[in-house]
Subunit: 342 residues, 4 copies
């Protein structure tokens, strides 16, 4: 079975394991206060063009999302998100467990628009009974989204403008950020993102690390006491060095960008192969996930050799499925798949 | 200004104030453990045909909803509700503040169908990643709904059947239950409701009391330790006798049913008057709330003499508004309004 | 049975019921936005000497405590309190249910000292692992305390100084504030309290009202969005006028102070009677609660005619009990009790 | 600087890194549903003598504690713990953040006694106002405790008896369980622990793993839906295989027990060396942590070459400090330390 079902089917990029082995017996203090973490933080700050940003390392996406959101909001506030947002559908109510409603706005392609945020905010303010409703307190976006789509520079700028006008912190879930930066026609740099968002994270788990997400906080108000909230959410790793070592390895010489580029190239080959056969897609993805719409028969045939995820029933006879590539995807496996697309 | 904007614009039915004054200097123990409460509980049990039901008195709707839901659910569970449900839109995230997601299902008329609940439940169970999603743990309905509509006996039976088949406690928010029991063509008795729901409440605040909701729990499992959860939610009134006295007065000789009947008659007169002028409604309501769809000009004209609520923008030139009647609505005021409907 | 077991054994001061009856059929808007509430707010602001304070009305103590504390703290913060504090022992974990730890400091007499607060704060700051511990985020005191004791002006000044130096909002639970203002040798005015605390409440439930607590917020930062948090905690009463009417009645012509004075006089008579028989007390109380330490035999004898609360086992043969007086305590009942103290 | 400050100063036991490297490119499904995890679960079940136990892998101690406790308790319940318990002092209110009070019982040596639990439980039940207090809902113990002490078989049996008599689930935090099993004079086997506790965990982070805790649930009631609560708490690792591989390596051929034995031997050498110089200890520890009480001068001298933690001020001139050993502690470093103890 060749697995395209997710981007976390293997361990870590070999250079990470190598670095872990080399440093294994060095003694360090715990909880992310070691030299590896310090160095990784500096590298990331530099790449973001934000010397004064706070950088924190957490273990996984759900943990990071709930920590950031709980840290930002007051009790009566909620977070605006696309209905498709990971926090809204795939985290077992982790956000609600911290006491906050997710104010879900409809989305077909995984993205929010500046206009949607503006309208939701104004609708709340103009409601005579607004104190009886949850107050929008921040905006959550994922980039790339759960549908593989990305924001353009212009779209993100517009979102950022609305958010700043209404003092809504803008939070980007970058669990797959590498694949967004490597997306076809991408025009957003890390430094743009750091300028336009108030807090975001650079995903490691799905882009070459064993695990780990690097949170970057650029807004001074949001920096305060963030490590307390991390600890409360189980987000301070005892052997914090493991996160420092991984992000050092990924970012010190561009490895992160290289492997993301590879994954996206593999994905686009798959996309083009389906396209060439006249297959349509749930949405247009320039990143490492493709969502072709297949018949049951097509699914059955491909399932003999390949693992991929059933994503969404489209109609009685069609289902959108998901093919994921990653840093670890082999060209041979992609060619094999392409060959098997009737 | 004559107020039709809500069903809590006045104090309490005069008999309640009279009873309070008569008993004012009697000394009782606190926290609902007095003889007035005991008697009111017995009367309610009898009317529900459930000698073994637990009956508890709380102060208001939001408090009652959050107490019941927090008491029933485990952390990873959510509550199925219509999108229009009070808990979903008008309680400032009180349910989420107890840690639980509201699993909102679309509704045009304020009601949930048995089919919707069945589908939502099965969809969750059949999701390969169901552990990554909030588990439906109970069902919330309001009767009458926020749109003034009611469930028929058959509809409630069907909901109850689905819920019991899947072990989902069925919770009815009866903040306006009196008006439901008095609804045109109603075929549901208190005792039917007690049979078909696992927990529900009989609203006092909007039906003649100063304040107060009587929770009836018929399911033995849900009875356990409920008073602890009430206390935790600020729901045990020090002078609990005030609730006992009010519900005694409302239920010992049928006052509750009488005043609800009056309110509904007033409401139907208003409905018929709008109807006669060709006005349409947001939905058909046989209870004490009417939602005619008016033009800006019509709204402006009526606003000169009457207070009523703007409910929902229907299109560029029309808005659904709400006219509420109550136990206190005077026939003269209704006739005046009717006379002013062009 | 003559009841001295609590200060909420009767209904309300008759003037309150009278006012409710007089205004019963007036129509008002709901949720505390009526003219009665507006007027009560103004009266309270004036009495506190704080024209810009925010004043809000809630229904009971637990609800008020959890609303205020949840509104003030960030997730990683806790509230410093005496171990005896109501929030720590008698609210079924209502504060923890909002996500916050109570940082309990030992107290024999129900009070916190400025020194204790200072030390607790500094100990946290000086802990190398402070991010692994709950951060003190505010200070909760009750005045009078649960033991009947009060703060002197000097003590409250010292507490306030420490709190402001360390930016810890000081919150006074004034569920029995009237009895504190009427305490023997009291040197604190409402206006002193408004100067020295950042948020406090004036208890109605235990001082003549049917129910109700008036929260006064003097710190601008704490004012923001408080009504949202009230609503989330079920603390916005539909018929909010009921609270306005009660506080208007209590404060417009000094009724609150009068009835509190009466209660304290009754209490001091009881104290002096026990004293005269050589009985000692759990602590010295100049307010409406007395805690004499009695033998089982003495308790048994008094229990024949009087209800009072068993408070705390002192040793194998002695128990501290509580006698409470209130606005409703009759001089005859006190004389009867005094006569029965062997 | 030679570090004795904690038991997580290095990476992982080299065999673990080796196994990770060997399996790195194998593709597996995520979220702990892979063959490595399945195998590790079976090995652990076998070692515990509980073929039907549920075994789950989480990332760290705080996460595990909050997940287990949130999963077990209803909203009005709290967890009994020693005041010294990790959940009470070193997790930034993680338990309270899930809504639950920690009912802390005094402890000098980090342990709870059966008598303490019995008394706390009965005191609650016998309180006339018990509904106004948090209900004890489970018992948390750490073994070894935060003070290095362990429970004997008899002590744990007594605790278990009390807990079962009162239906209080007994939860053992085994973050350092290996060192407890290897403790001097230990008479508790893994299988005893599985018999006497209802849920416990076997710590990996501090005993040779990069990270990871293996939760073992023996009580059928507590098993239900545990993975949902894990996910909600960010406790389902995407690359769950990493946990499976680590626990497989630690337990398939006894490595866990071997390295724990080594650590304890190193610790006892340090203990004996201090003893021989007449130094006393904060408490008697037969495990991998030693808490000698030193003067400022002694601390200053040792600090030149060794890192260790300041634990607790004992008096004006003495402080208890902590020396930790681990699987990675080198005999040479211990000899060097011993040589430097004047």
């Amino acid at each position: 079975m060749i697995r395209f079902e997710c981007d976390y089917a293997e361990g870590a990029h070999p250079l990470i394991l190598k670095r872990m082995a080399e440093t294994n017996l060095e003694q360090t203090t715990g909880y992310g206060e070691d030299a590896f973490c310090a160095n990784a933080r500096n590298i990331i700050r530099r790449l973001c063009g934000k010397e004064t940003a706070d950088v924190h390392f957490l273990m996984g996406g759900t943990q990071t999302n709930k920590t950031v959101i709980a840290s930002v909001l007051r009790p009566h506030q909620g977070v605006l998100s696309a209905t498709t947002g990971h926090i809204n559908v795939h985290e077992t109510g982790a956000i609600e467990a911290t006491g906050h409603k997710i104010l879900a706005l409809p989305s077909e392609n995984g993205k929010l628009t500046a206009l949607q945020v503006e309208q939701a905010f104004l609708e709340h303010c103009n409601d005579a009974n607004h104190e009886h409703a949850v107050q929008p307190g921040m905006v959550y976006i994922s980039h790339p989204s759960e549908c593989g789509t990305v924001y353009s520079r212009q779209e993100l700028q517009a979102l950022s403008d609305v958010c700043r006008r209404h003092r809504l912190p803008l939070f980007m879930d970058g669990a797959r950020l590498g694949y967004g930066l490597a997306a076809e026609n991408n025009d957003l740099s890390l430094s743009d993102i750091a300028d336009l968002c108030d807090v975001f994270y650079i995903g490691g788990t799905k882009v070459g690390a064993l695990f780990g997400e690097a949170v970057v906080i650029t807004d001074d108000v949001l920096k305060k006491d963030f490590r307390y909230v991390m600890k409360q959410n189980g987000g301070i790793l005892a052997k914090g060095r493991l996160l420092g070592i991984q992000f050092e390895t990924l970012f010190s010489e561009g490895l992160y960008f290289e492997i993301a580029h590879h994954a996206v190239q593999m994905s686009l080959q798959i996309r083009d192969a389906f396209c060439a056969k006249g297959i349509t897609f749930m949405c247009e993805s320039p990143t490492n996930q493709q969502f072709p719409i297949l018949t049951e028969e097509q699914i059955a045939r491909l399932s003999e050799k390949y693992a991929f995820e059933h994503w969404k029933k489209i109609d009685a006879t069609h289902t959108a499925v998901r093919f994921c590539t990653s840093w670890a995807t082999r060209q041979d496996d992609v060619l094999s798949l392409i060959g098997d697309i009737w």
